[in-house]
């Protein structure tokens, strides 16, 4: 099966309610995920320093795959907006105004699989997904995500 390394869009950063074991570790070990949006997200897959969340609609599609996807679980994420976001998007009448109530709902994508083996895995904190998962991702919005082939020779270094 083909695999792909994704450099997913980052539309914000960890919020203050996040609990991160060691901020200097890679991949980061996060026990509570709070994503603070700095800007309006474009893609259905987002990240903050190698910790991922997906839109609810994407989660539903992934959960509907048969056989079930491997290497990932879904959990709650707290999503808030930063001052920067509000400054940029909250003034009605400006060209950058966005109705905050239209922000999609997100779900934490907790990746635990082995890159190149499971549907979801990590390589150097980048998401590695199977071909079928990429197909689902591409069926929604994946505009700012850089996609590279995941090289076979790196399988041994995965995870």
């Amino acid at each position: 099966m083909k695999f792909h390394l994704l450099r997913a869009e980052s539309a914000g950063d960890f919020g203050s309610h996040s609990i991160i074991e060691n901020p200097q570790a890679r991949p980061l070990k996060v026990t509570r995920f709070h994503y603070e949006l700095d800007m309006w997200p474009t893609d259905d897959l987002l990240q903050a320093v190698g910790v991922f969340m997906v839109s609810e609609r994407l989660a539903l599609k992934l959960k509907a795959l048969t056989p079930a996807v491997t290497g990932a679980a879904f959990d709650d994420v707290e999503v808030t907006t930063s001052n920067k976001f509000d400054e940029w998007h909250s003034r009605p009448g400006t060209e950058t105004y966005r109705d905050k109530s239209k922000l999609p709902q997100f779900v934490w994508l907790k990746v635990s699989g082995q890159a190149g083996l499971d549907d979801f895995g990590l390589f150097n904190s980048r998401l590695v997904v199977s071909d079928r998962v990429l197909g689902v991702l591409k069926s929604l919005t994946l505009q700012y995500c850089k996609i590279e082939d995941y090289p076979a020779e790196k399988l041994s270094a995965a995870g």
Partner: protein
């Protein structure tokens, strides 16, 4: 095609051009006939000067009155229907064909040559030549209106890549030419051989509504152009550029408005009205909150907005006070005393007509307006600049803010004092070492710092987003690596236009730093500075001002 020809005729009539055999003329009679005899490129400019833009309508009082559409609708509908049917193939006269010939159109040149032949002295043949040439040149004229939209659509992008202050005037001239349907192969914009301009698809002009929409596009384009062109200009350059382009937009829209009115479109379709409103809002905004000009300055910019208003109102009947008083069978003095409500009851709405701005100065303010130079000087005067800066929430000199150790966001003096449990005055009295002992730094407000360092950008402050070139998460994740003061220094601040911010900063640069964080969990100062420099190098052209030589 018919309506195009009618406008050509109108343009020629306004310019006073004439042909002995076609109609009687004024002081310029015979000029163009002579040109045909000696047709050459060298005389083209002279003829174009003689042709010139459509003349303005006769001066009228400042305040016009619009008869409510519900009282006018039926009449307008009928009038429009008649006008539509009356617009038949009016052949061009010899003057007009001559002008087209000098304008470089090969068919017109052929026609002009044919009209000089002995056979063309026969009236039947002469009329036939004129009819055929007219038919073909009508399409040419239609294309000129297409050019308005094409030029403007492409212009915004073209500006991004090519425009600098020196080209601004040329660009405005290009818009003016397009606005008047003049085609000049030597114009900077039209002749741009590469880039986006070449890719714009021509749209057909099928109806007066299309023309009105082109006017709208022009106004929107002019406003967009101002956004794009504003970067890097001095205050004076910005003001001058604004005037030039706003005036071009005003003329373009006014021209389309006249055209629209002339052809009796009765109801502005909803989408056109929305587009017009957008354009009006944009231009109005330029006038109201960007320029902060003296009244004399405001006039030109507002003129664009007013022209748009004219466009919107052009399906209604405009009356000057004299006409309105006559219609109501009252005196002008009595009319002047009437409130808006009373006017509404009589089916009238008070409005301003773009052609009447000159008079409005007297009627509305009753005093002489200041000349443009006053505002220009104000922009180059420190006090004037500080006043303008305040309008955009910029303090000159920069206001102090405070950053607590391990935090990324600055807080106000009041908030910091409250957290420390001291008064604002006590906090302001603390020196750096005393602040350091309390785990905080005093830093200038970064936006203030940026605009104090680049006062020339203050007039467009609301079009720029200022960012920290060294991201603030560094302070939180790697305390001690950089001071908050360093991050807020002007050399590390970057301006990006609102137009580009969403893509360039929010997406590209933000994602680059995210990648950096993944690769360098424990970065050194040097690694962070290298990344900063690499981003500067890659995105230099997007920064305002460009940063090449500023990189530390």
């Amino acid at each position: 095609m018919g309506f195009s020809l009618k406008v050509i005729d109108k343009v020629a009539r306004d310019s006073g051009g004439s042909d002995r055999s076609d109609r009687t003329g004024d002081g310029k009679a015979g000029q163009l006939g002579n040109v045909i005899e000696g047709a050459s490129q060298s005389s083209m400019n002279e003829v174009l000067d003689a042709w010139g833009p459509p003349s303005r309508k006769p001066e009228a009082p400042a305040t016009a009155l619009v008869e409510k559409p519900e009282t006018q609708a039926e009449k307008s509908l009928l009038k429009g229907h008649i006008q539509q049917n009356e617009r038949i193939e009016d052949p061009l006269n010899t003057d007009q064909i001559g002008m087209m010939a000098l304008h470089g159109h090969p068919l017109a040149q052929a026609g002009a040559d044919m009209l000089k032949t002995p056979a063309a002295q026969n009236k039947v043949i002469r009329d036939g030549i004129k009819r055929d040439i007219s038919s073909m040149l009508g399409d040419w004229f239609k294309e000129q209106f297409q050019n308005v939209t094409n030029v403007i659509s492409g212009f915004d992008k073209w500006v991004q890549a090519n425009l600098n202050a020196g080209k601004l005037k040329e660009a405005a001239e290009g818009i003016k030419r397009a606005a008047f349907g003049q085609h000049d192969d030597t114009a900077t914009i039209g002749s741009k051989p590469d880039g986006d301009m070449a890719n714009f698809h021509l749209r057909g002009v099928e109806s007066p509504q299309d023309v009105a929409e082109y006017g709208t596009s022009t106004a929107v384009g002019a406003a967009k152009t101002l956004d794009a062109a504003a970067r890097g200009l001095t205050p004076r350059g910005f003001v001058e550029g604004t005037h030039a382009i706003a005036e071009a937009g005003r003329q373009a829209v006014g021209n389309a408005g006249e055209y629209y009115e002339e052809h009796g479109l009765n109801n502005l379709p909803a989408d056109t009205a929305d587009a017009a409103k957008t354009a009006y809002d944009r231009l109005g905004q330029w006038s109201a909150d960007r320029m902060q000009m003296e009244p004399g300055e405001r006039g030109d910019v507002t003129g664009s907005a007013m022209a748009m208003m004219f466009l919107v109102a052009s399906s209604k009947e405009l009356l000057n006070p004299k006409e309105a008083a006559k219609r109501l069978k009252i005196t002008e003095a009595e009319l002047a005393e009437m409130t808006d409500e009373e006017l509404a009851k009589r089916g009238l709405t008070k409005t301003n007509h773009p052609e009447h701005l000159e008079d409005e100065k007297v009627v509305k303010s009753g005093k002489q307006e200041k000349p443009h130079e006053v505002s220009n000087e104000a922009l180059e005067n420190p006090e004037g600049l500080a006043k303008l800066a305040r309008k955009f929430g910029i303090n000159m000199p920069p206001k102090d803010t405070y950053v607590f150790a391990g935090e990324k966001d600055a807080v106000s003096t009041e908030a910091a004092a409250k957290r420390l449990g001291i008064t604002k005055a006590q906090l302001e009295g603390l020196d750096e070492s005393a602040l350091s002992a309390r785990n905080l730094e005093r830093v200038p407000n970064y936006r203030d710092a940026f605009f104090n360092a680049h006062p020339g950008l203050i007039p467009i402050a609301d079009r720029l987003i200022i960012h920290h070139g060294l991201p603030k998460w560094i302070l939180k994740e790697h305390p001690g690596l950089f001071s908050a003061k360093e991050l807020n220094e002007e050399q590390f601040l970057r301006g990006i236009t609102r137009t580009e911010n969403d893509f360039v900063h929010n997406k590209l640069i933000h994602n680059e730093w995210n990648e950096f964080r993944l690769d360098f969990p424990n970065p050194t100062r040097e690694q962070i500075l290298q990344k900063f420099q690499s981003i500067d190098k890659d995105y230099n052209k997007h920064f305002v001002p460009p940063t090449g030589e500023r990189t530390p």
